[in-house]
């Protein structure tokens, strides 16, 4: 009896193995691809994946299934991706937080943002906006800095959380401009922006503030990127506004676990580059203040290395590190 069970079990297991081994030999993609979004549905990251996924399915001739796996600021899904099989059937959309900030904020994270992943393509580069409540008596970055220096205790800034890009971008500004401001963290960008619109907090750096600026609820003083925004071309960059060397952009990109063959990475890279450079896609994201990046996997690898260095230093100097 025992022997029979053992034989059956062996058969079942070896059947399972042979099936999964079989996939690798077939021409990729031989089965649907899972695209993990490490955040809840409805946000920018989810939106990007859901816009690109159907077009990617068409190009690759296999369905690409978007799967939301939110939690712990995207690090749960990213940790899982690091351990996923490098067969090219599991990929993830990552961002500045999951692949450049969180590893330095949370020391207990088990993944290495550089060694554990195979960067595929940078999708976006999102310039953030320095916005203030219109009650604050400053019409330019220089005036804001003067105000902050005159009365260091009068200004507070909101962010979408400790160690968020919004937090680091402002700490970077504080450092370069030599000013002080109290950090008021929120759980997400929406409640933070709400309190800035209401005037409970004076200022914030965030990427989603464009409609609030257009309607006059907020005043934009500068964009954080190196180029002016297409949506609001009259707002200067930080550097133009007098904060020399300041540049900060949030970004999204596609990652595979380390070990995925270059051939597969190349195929996905080509397909996504074609998709994000379609006018329709480009324009839709431009309206939402999301800039399209694109480029080769190698370019993305170099970019990630540079970003990790920059963010590591910023996290350390801002004191956002947690045990």
């Amino acid at each position: 009896m025992k022997k029979t069970i053992f034989a059956v079990a062996t058969a079942v297991i070896s059947f399972g193995c042979s099936v999964s081994a079989g996939h690798a030999q077939d021409a990729w993609p031989a089965k649907p691809i899972t695209w993990i979004v490490p955040f809840a549905p409805g946000g920018n990251t989810d939106l990007l994946a859901r816009t690109i996924a159907p077009k990617l399915s068409e190009k690759l001739g296999q369905s690409v299934i978007v799967e939301n796996r939110p939690g712990a600021g995207g690090t749960i899904a990213t940790t899982e991706l690091a351990a996923a099989a490098p067969d090219g059937y599991t990929m993830q959309i990552g961002d500045i937080s999951t692949h450049a900030i969180s590893p330095y904020v949370y020391k207990k994270l088990t993944y290495d943002p550089i060694k554990d992943f195979k960067p595929v393509v940078q999708i976006t580069s999102v310039s953030l906006l320095l916005v203030i409540n219109p009650q604050v008596k400053a019409n330019s970055v220089a005036e804001l800095i003067a105000l902050a220096k005159e009365d260091p205790d009068s200004l507070a800034y909101a962010s979408s959380g400790n160690g968020s890009p919004q937090h680091l971008a402002f700490e970077y500004l504080k450092k370069l401009a030599g000013i002080e401001a109290v950090h008021i963290p929120y759980n997400g960008a929406a409640p933070a922006l709400t309190d800035v619109v209401a005037g409970h907090v004076q200022m914030m750096i965030d990427g989603t503030a464009v409609p609030q600026v257009k309607s006059g609820n907020l005043r934009a003083l500068a964009v954080t990127g190196t180029e002016r925004s297409k949506v609001m071309p009259d707002i200067p960059t930080m550097a133009e506004a007098g904060v020399k060397d300041y540049s900060f952009a949030s970004w999204h990109g596609v990652f595979y676990p380390a070990g995925v063959p270059d051939e597969i990475v190349g195929k996905v890279n080509t397909a996504i580059n074609e998709i994000i450079n379609q006018d329709e896609v480009k324009n839709r994201f431009a309206e939402l203040n999301i800039g399209i990046a694109g480029g080769s996997p190698q370019k993305f690898v170099e970019f990630i290395a540079a970003e990790n260095e920059k963010m590591k230093a910023l996290v350390e100097s801002s004191g956002a590190t947690q045990d």
């Binding site: 946000g43 920018n44 796996r69 939690g71 749960i76 709400t194 005037g199 409609p211 609030q212 947690q322």
Partner: protein
Amino acid sequence: MELLSHLALGFETALSPLNLFYCFAGVLIGTLIGVLPGLGPAPTVAMLLPLSFGLPPVSGFIMLSGIFYGAQYGGSTTAILINTPGESSSVVTALDGYQMAKRGRAGEALAMAAVGSFIAGTISTVIIALLAPPLARAALLFGPAEYFSLMVLGLIAAIALANGSVLKAVAMAVVGLLLGLVGTDVTSGVQRYTFGALNLFDGIAIVALAMGLFSVAEVLRNLEDRSDKPPTVAQISGLAAGLSRLREALGSILRGTAIGSILGILPGGGATLSSFASYAIEKKISKEPEKFGTGVLQGLTGPESANNAGAQTSFIPMLTLGLPSNPVMALMIGALMIHGIQPGPNVISEQPALFWGLITSMWIGNAMLVILNLPLVGLWVKLLTFPYHLLFPAIVVITCIGVFSFNNSMFDVWMLLLFSVIGYILVKLRCEPAPMLLGFILGPMMEEHLRRALLLSRGNASVFIERPISAVMLAIAVLLIVAPAFSIIRARREEIFVED
């Protein structure tokens, strides 16, 4: 009349055959998914979000809103029938609704919940049409200090949820407050009580907590019933019997609508508080407060109306300011953004068809909900006659799947298991889980707002009494504590005088 032309535009949009169809489809799908235990409005809308991508923006948005109302009402249906509140607000619905069902008044409970929701939906829709922009401005007056005071007030109202020992109820609320602290502390970024587990960074999933404490614990309790009889009651009242009691419940429906409409506007937690607040008020003004928790009609209709009114007015900050007040509204914004519309203060002027079409479709959706659900009441009630020993395995399985669907996380199912055991122990010790759940919801918000208010005032605690709205709420809170104490003292005195 500008409003009339706006409404005409709205009806023109919402009553187009295509939009009417999507509204109905949304309400129907939402109801069908929402009745599954554990699937509240947020996961239902999240799962069905992709359905709207292929539609024109207005139609997609109308359908998603329909899904939202449908899921909300569907959630109330199962809360009443089998004590499975899929989200925090239907916890209150389950308190007296489930007791009504257990006493054979399921038909009445469902019918009155539907009618109450419809009345609340109608009134709050009119409020949105007339007053959306000024109300949104008013909501912005609520800063950290005001929120903290509101949470204190809400927590004191939690005591009203207790039907047994007040001492144990307060202790349970504190347990809830402590459990709510698990996860990343927003203000400092410190991990508290997470034991290094990434799955606890965002805290304990509320759906696992609520479903464990209420629905699985109830299954365990029923299985322990030594009589081995199905827990349903033979005689089940019908639809007509329910509607005949509308007059009795009308007051509570109107009060609930008022509370829900006001609290729903507040971003972050306002709508959640409204059903708890309504329950507390109904119990306070009732002539027989001791009967609450045993199936009092007003204890069901008040919170249900408040819940629905709050759900409607929670659209206000999103539509007028582009600021989502809760996770469902964040999803709605995502739905618009995929069409290249970024909701903001200019939606009313730039997209009048969208804005007014949505508002009128809210009302149409609510009407459809009633038309759809009143005939279904009979069907749902029949569910109770289904043999329990075949029903509960389905309840447990779907609950597990529902909890999993929230974050696509098996960890949450393990948490469900843990809280099922805890919920069962609590039943055994006659500790009520409702105050614990309210504490769990309010705790983190209360702490966050307190600390934020003090950060902003640079440590000056007098902000809480210097700001008028905050001061009024704290005063009410103090009154709520002091008044019963006084009445006890007075009663004692009278006793003494009588003895003299």
